[in-house]
């Protein structure tokens, strides 16, 4: 057991997999000699060499496309998008080639795509997005989004060892802000939800960085017993855990950082409306980013991203319902 930051946990998982399985290789822009824009692969090239920690051309479609080709002949590529926003340039390969391959041809595509996501640091419209819902809407791609250091490592092991394309949403804002105890060696975190805090009056459902916003906002909310459910995985979505929390608490706030329309939170809301109508004691409440590009200037960015105060307000309103 070691205390690691979220970023160190991701690095540790990658290092363990490179040591454990010679089929694993890292591909991405500036990940080798430079060690990655966020230094996730810092020092890797010295240990594993330039073939396995590959500095690629600036070509996201090619990173995903060649990873697919390498995967179907036996490799286990882990692609880094320098920022999750850039997956837009590799979207076609991921959605049309990788995502539909197994259904069409029975051919598994074991690739992991690491997507440094999220805002909160003036990254502006092209370095702050949360594109997870793009892939939730496209069959054949798994999507995981860890909130803790332990899950960052465990879910990354699970992603790399999965026979399918997996989008690993790593939240940039958590990289150096979150620390935690992480078990040594390879342990896989299941792609299921986790109760981050038990409660009974209301449940906040969140994932990624928003789990921490939810915990902070509800730590002391006028004495209410608030549960926080950390989804961890968006595809597959842990329907059972979601419905269990709703049945227990009867009031639900769904929190996500992505733009509101058709977001992961919208899917969770639809699920609850369909399957837990009778359990509800109030309207399903959503807190998310409005449908605007993420602005650059701090007061503008803070105005759109969900924060502790907005979550408190939403919870209070629902508790009083």
């Amino acid at each position: 057991m070691a205390t690691l930051t979220y970023l160190q946990a991701i690095s540790a998982a990658l290092r363990d997999e490179l040591r454990d399985d010679e089929r694993v290789l890292m591909m991405g822009e500036d990940i080798g000699v430079f060690g990655g824009a966020f230094k996730v692969t810092d020092g890797f090239i010295e240990e594993f060499g330039a073939d396995r920690v590959m500095d690629t051309p600036l070509a996201e479609s090619a990173i995903i496309g060649t990873a697919i080709g390498a995967a179907v002949v036996g490799m286990r590529p882990v692609c880094e998008m320098q920022f999750s926003d850039f997956i837009a340039c590799g979207f076609d390969q991921l959605v049309n080639v990788a995502g539909k391959m197994h259904y069409r041809q029975g051919l598994a595509v074991p690739i992991t795509v690491r997507l440094p996501s999220g805002g909160g640091f003036s990254g502006g419209p092209f370095h702050s997005q949360n594109p997870e819902a793009w892939f939730m809407h496209s069959p054949g791609i798994k999507v995981v989004a860890p909130a803790t250091a332990e899950d960052a490592k465990g879910l990354l092991h699970a992603a790399i060892r999965d026979p399918n394309p997996v989008c690993f949403m790593e939240h940039k804002h958590l990289y150096r802000r979150i620390k935690g105890e992480v078990p040594d060696g390879i342990h896989e975190t299941p792609m299921t939800a986790r109760i981050a805090r038990e409660g009974s009056d209301l449940v906040v459902i969140a994932y990624g960085a928003m789990v921490h916003v939810a915990l902070e906002a509800t730590e002391d909310l006028d004495g209410a017993s608030v549960e926080v459910l950390d989804l961890r995985s968006l595809v597959p979505l842990d329907t059972e855990a979601i419905l269990a929390s709703v049945a227990k608490c009867s009031k639900v706030v769904i929190l996500d950082e992505a733009n509101a329309t058709c977001a992961a939170g919208a899917q969770v809301a639809a699920l609850i409306a369909e399957h837990a109508f009778e359990d509800l004691d109030g309207p399903v409440t959503r807190v998310s980013t409005p449908d605007v590009p993420i602005p650059f200037s701090p007061p503008l960015e803070q105005a759109v991203l969900p924060g502790v105060e907005r979550v408190k307000e939403a919870c209070r309103e629902l508790l009083a319902y």
Binding site: T56, G69, A71, V73, A108, N164
Partner: protein, 352 residues
């Protein structure tokens, strides 16, 4: 960088008489299967649309014939002969068109959108030329592991306008990968002629990416074979990729609904004189082969395949949502057949 000519590529054949007959047979199977599928389409038995490669048979037959069992192929929609050569049974091909449970994709995808993963092939997607990158990635893995194998992919003239063409050519050039790019220049991308597609013949671009480009008569199966064999040798001996531009003509419409009104009739008639099957038949006859016997056996094979495919069940609707995700250990592509005599006698990689 020098552009190799078709004549150079043809100098000194590596084909025995039985290879010539096998090439003819693959082309006849392709044409016969597609004609049968078209007829089934006209009868309303093939759902969706129908695409064929009439007149382009030499491009896939010649190039695929140069591939060894351990090589990997990303095959385009006018390249049915590649599937035939790798060993996909004709009944399975017709069942694929018919959307049957016994088709290669079990009704999940239609037409020539298939690859038999057990035979080293990955089926195309409609976004062209996405498969150039997949083939490049296969080649990257072969190089990283130090294996003497190559990947090959086919794509059309229209594909050269899209970014993935550039990304694949550049990546393969930078990493000097064992990949063979076959540009199937059939004069039209749907209705768009070459002069609206590019200002410079794409074969010239190969030099800009740091490797060779060669123009080949795409209606000559043996020229295609020789050029691809040479490209494969370069690939597996560490000399990097090759772009082969196969010049041919799409003799039918883009798909069955397309009347080709945008193509001058004289152009079609001119190309009809250069039919790749007529050419290969003349070669086989010249070498003492019995073309009629080959034609007869191909006809019988297609008749039997059609009967089998038409009797095959439709897929069970209850299974429509199954198989989206893989479960358990991912199984990589398997090896395909490689009927060229050069592979039967030579080293594992089969290079003479």
């Amino acid at each position: 960088m020098a552009t190799q000519t078709a004549q150079q590529a043809q100098a000194g054949s590596h084909l025995l008489p039985e290879d010539r007959a096998a090439l003819l047979r693959a082309m006849l199977l392709m044409r016969g299967l597609e004609e049968r599928a078209m007829s089934l389409y006209r009868q309303g038995k093939v759902p969706g649309s129908f695409y064929d490669g009439y007149g382009q048979e030499a491009v896939s037959a010649g190039a695929a014939f140069a591939m060894a069992p351990a090589d990997r192929l990303c095959v385009l929609h006018r390249d049915l002969a590649a599937h035939v050569i790798r060993g996909v049974p004709p009944a399975r091909i017709l069942a694929q068109y018919l959307g049957r449970a016994t088709g290669v994709t079990r009704g999940r995808d239609g037409n020539v959108h298939f690859g038999d993963r057990h035979l080293g092939c990955v089926g195309m997607v409609s976004m062209l030329p996405d498969m150039m990158l997949v083939a490049t990635g296969m080649a990257m893995a072969f190089k990283l592991r130090g294996e003497r194998r190559c990947a090959i992919t086919w794509f059309g003239d229209g594909s050269t306008s899209r970014g993935d063409f550039h990304e694949a050519m550049n990546w393969a050039g930078v990493q000097k990968l064992p990949v063979v790019f076959v540009l199937e220049n059939n004069q039209y991308a749907y209705s768009t002629p070459l002069d609206k597609q590019f200002a410079v013949d794409p074969v010239e671009r190969a030099a800009a990416y740091g490797f060779s480009g060669v123009t080949v008569d795409g209606n000559d199966a043996e020229a295609m074979f020789e050029a691809t064999r040479a490209a494969r040798e370069r690939a597996i001996s560490g000399q990097g990729p090759t772009l082969i531009e196969a010049v041919t003509m799409r003799m039918h419409g883009h798909a069955a609904h397309d009347d080709m009104k945008y193509v001058p009739k004289e152009q079609v008639e001119e190309w009809r004189k250069r039919d790749p099957i007529d050419r290969q038949e003349a070669r086989v006859t010249g070498a003492g082969g019995d073309v009629e016997a080959i034609r007869g056996s191909v006809r019988a094979e297609i008749d039997a395949a059609a009967e089998e495919a038409l009797a095959a069940p439709m897929p069970d609707p209850a299974g429509a949502a199954e198989g989206v995700f893989g479960v358990g250990e991912a199984e990589p592509l398997g090896d395909g057949l490689a009927p060229w005599s050069g592979f039967a006698t030579g080293a594992p990689e089969g290079v003479s």
